[in-house]
């Protein structure tokens, strides 16, 4: 039997409530609904003006003062001559009255947090009010960075390109990303179809030179072979083994390079120094052999060729047909579609006995697999009963023959 009763309480249990009264108080305070906790409004704060949510405080004691006319802010009674008095923001308390607004316990080590006029112990403050860091998912006590519609620890709000901390320097919102000034400049240069030189950090107006993964003004380098100052036609060549990959690359002028005989990429027309992909009758850089539709590189994944172009599985499938659930091949001829799947003619069969089925075969469904009548009748009674009950509970989609 299904047993679908919701047993979660109206107010989710937070912390360890032993006292029924506490529970009531909470309910009253927060309107009894969990949502209210989420709705606590932290006013949005600019990054330049960091907000501290809930000041951390330490209990202060009063010792030598006249105790006449002084009363406890909680119970209203006076103070004994030798009694310790707590002083906080101009109000006085008995030691036993100065307690957490949530758990009514004294504050461990005298540390408490004020929020909205109430005082909380560290545990309850975190559970109730502390915002959650969008990066590390833990509570934030102290400085909160409010940016990009989320909260962050200052050390966790980073440039999304270079991971630099942004809390002190500020950030620039670019296409939904938070970026540091330098990365933003790079993006801007890219927008103009240009690069920033990795050596002198100024814009590269003419043809840039790529070297060890970075872009440069070509004139910062000389040819490894002949020593001539390089221009945009220079080539990066990997030619010495025994060194780490990036340390092997060297620069040559076009003339010296052409003497070396290296395959040329069918996409970018540049030499291929590393892995060569051969497909469609051409050579390609691994990263330049891409799907004709989405332009993502295959990187060794299966590709499908059609009319001289290569496609990824998804897009071949999308443009030219379905993949069969059994053989996982693109379906050339007739397609059977049912149960969120497709089958080629050869493979549309009962999932239990592998007997072929056709348009007219009636079948049952189990976990969105087709099951012929004969097999379904051989299922354990107990399972059939459960499957039937489940079917009654699920709204049926039109067109699923049963």
């Amino acid at each position: 039997m299904w047993n679908i009763k919701d047993k979660s309480p109206d107010v989710p249990v937070m912390g360890d409530f032993k006292d029924g009264k506490l529970f009531l108080r909470r309910k009253h305070q927060h309107d009894g609904s969990y949502k209210k906790f989420e709705d606590i409004d932290y006013s949005p704060v600019e990054i330049s003006k960091p907000e501290v949510v809930g000041e951390k405080n330490v209990t202060k004691w009063i010792t030598n003062m006249s105790r006449d006319n002084m009363a406890c802010a909680r119970c209203g009674d006076g103070f004994g001559a030798q009694e310790k008095i707590v002083n906080s923001t101009g109000q006085l308390w008995h030691q036993q009255c100065f307690v957490c607004a949530q758990c009514f316990q004294e504050f461990p080590n005298g540390i408490f947090y004020e929020y909205d006029g109430r005082k909380y112990c560290e545990h309850d403050f975190q559970v109730l009010f502390a915002p959650c860091c969008n990066k590390c998912n833990s509570f934030i006590i102290g400085r909160v960075i409010k940016a990009m519609n989320a909260s962050w620890h200052p050390e966790h709000f980073l440039c999304q390109m270079c991971d630099m901390e942004l809390a002190e320097t500020g950030f620039i919102k670019n296409g939904g990303r938070a970026l540091c000034h330098e990365c933003n400049a790079k993006i801007k240069a890219q927008g103009l179809g240009k690069y920033v030189c990795h050596k002198c950090h100024s814009l590269i107006d003419d043809q840039p030179l790529k070297f060890r993964g970075e872009m440069y003004h070509p004139y910062h380098f000389n040819c490894t072979a002949c020593g001539v100052e390089l221009d945009g036609n220079a080539r990066e060549v990997r030619n010495r083994s025994g060194f780490a990959k990036n340390d092997m690359n060297e620069l040559y002028c076009l003339r010296c390079h052409d003497k070396m005989g290296i395959p040329i990429c069918g996409a970018c027309r540049r030499p291929i120094e590393e892995r060569v992909v051969t497909a469609l009758g051409k050579h390609w850089h691994v990263e330049h052999f891409v799907c004709a539709k989405c332009e993502k590189p295959f990187l060794g994944h299966r590709h499908y060729e059609k009319k001289g172009l290569a496609y990824c599985e998804t897009h071949y499938h999308q443009l030219f047909g379905n993949l069969c659930h059994v053989c996982n091949q693109v379906i050339g001829g007739d397609v059977f579609t049912a149960l969120n799947k497709a089958w080629c003619v050869h493979h549309f069969a009962c999932s239990v006995c592998d007997q072929k089925m056709n348009q007219k075969t009636k079948f049952y469904e189990c976990d969105l697999k087709p099951v012929c009548k004969k097999c379904y009748e051989k299922f354990p009674n107990e399972l059939r009963r459960r499957l039937r009950r489940q079917h009654e509970a699920t709204p049926k989609k039109a067109g699923t023959p049963v």
């Binding site: 679908i4 919701d6 989320a150 006995c353 592998d354 697999k369 097999c375 107990e382 699920t394």
Partner: protein, 284 residues
């Protein structure tokens, strides 16, 4: 002395149905072998089968097989192996070395455990373990290393947790966990970006990891089944509105905070809700 006459009529009529199928198949070298519902209890009743290396599909559904011999791995061209509805309690490790095996159906058997190293299949795409007796510690350490897996059917077993390693199944499109005892899902499930069928009905779930919102479960091509769990009110409300609402909600800051707090407090999971004591897979 008179001897009793010796019959010279061939014993064909006495031959078992399985033997007959094997003989016919050998004659025409049929690579697809249908031995479903042939009243077979042991492989000895199918002589010569383990030498028929040209076979690409072997269907043995609805028999009474208890033991699978290691020699089955001789069938190196096998792509589809179907043992649905037998009485298998143990599998030989050699199965995992079958080089071309793409589809393995072990549904409706009596497996309490899988052999160590079971996840070594080089080409497995569909693994059906529906309706066995598998639980968290039944899976060998390398189970989630089967990167080629497209569909994993674990419905009707006794799992309580899904390991974080599930993220290694990068090609997984179908994951069925129907009617287990799952109490929580790992956030890593959000890394299964190709998933388009997720069956969670009849478990003990209350809450979902926010990362599930990364999956495209609201699309036309996706199926998300969730009935029969004890979802917290907030999730229940969103599910009432539709799966797309749930997916948006899971991605929200509000939900992240709710989830974080829920996980911090860790209320006890609800009790099992499906009575599986009558499963025939329980028979020992």
């Amino acid at each position: 002395m008179n001897q009793a006459p010796v019959s010279c009529i061939p014993t064909q009529s006495k031959m078992s149905k399985a033997k007959k199928v094997l003989e016919e198949s050998r004659e025409i070298q049929n690579p697809e072998l249908d031995l479903a519902d042939k009243n077979v209890s042991t492989f000895e009743e199918m002589p010569g089968l383990l030498n028929m290396t040209y076979v690409t599909r072997l269907t043995l559904s609805h028999n009474k097989i208890k033991v699978v011999p290691p020699g089955l791995a001789n069938l190196i061209n096998l792509e589809i192996l179907n043992f649905s509805n037998n009485q298998i309690e143990e599998l030989p490790l050699s199965l995992s070395s079958m080089p071309k095996l793409r589809i393995l159906n072990l549904s409706i058997n009596r497996l309490f455990t899988l052999p160590r190293g079971f996840g070594a299949f080089p080409a497995l795409e569909v693994l059906d373990l529906t309706y066995n007796n598998l639980k968290d510690d039944s899976l060998p350490g390398n189970f989630f290393m089967m990167e080629t897996l497209r569909a994993l059917y674990l419905g009707d077993n006794d799992f309580e947790h899904l390991p974080a390693d599930i993220k290694n199944l990068k090609n997984l499109q179908i994951l069925v966990l129907r009617e287990n005892d799952i109490v929580e899902l790992p956030s890593e499930i959000g890394e299964l970006t190709r998933l388009r069928e997720l069956h969670l009905q009849g478990n003990r779930l209350t809450i979902l990891p926010p990362e599930l919102g990364n999956l495209d479960m609201a699309s036309q091509k996706a199926v998300f089944k969730f009935e029969g769990n004890e979802w917290v009110e907030q999730i229940k409300d969103q599910l009432q509105l539709g799966v797309s609402h749930l997916m948006d909600y899971l991605k929200s800051d509000t939900y992240r905070m709710l989830y974080k707090r829920y996980i911090t407090n860790k209320p006890p999971p609800p009790p099992p809700c499906v009575d599986k004591s009558k499963k025939i897979s329980r028979i020992r």
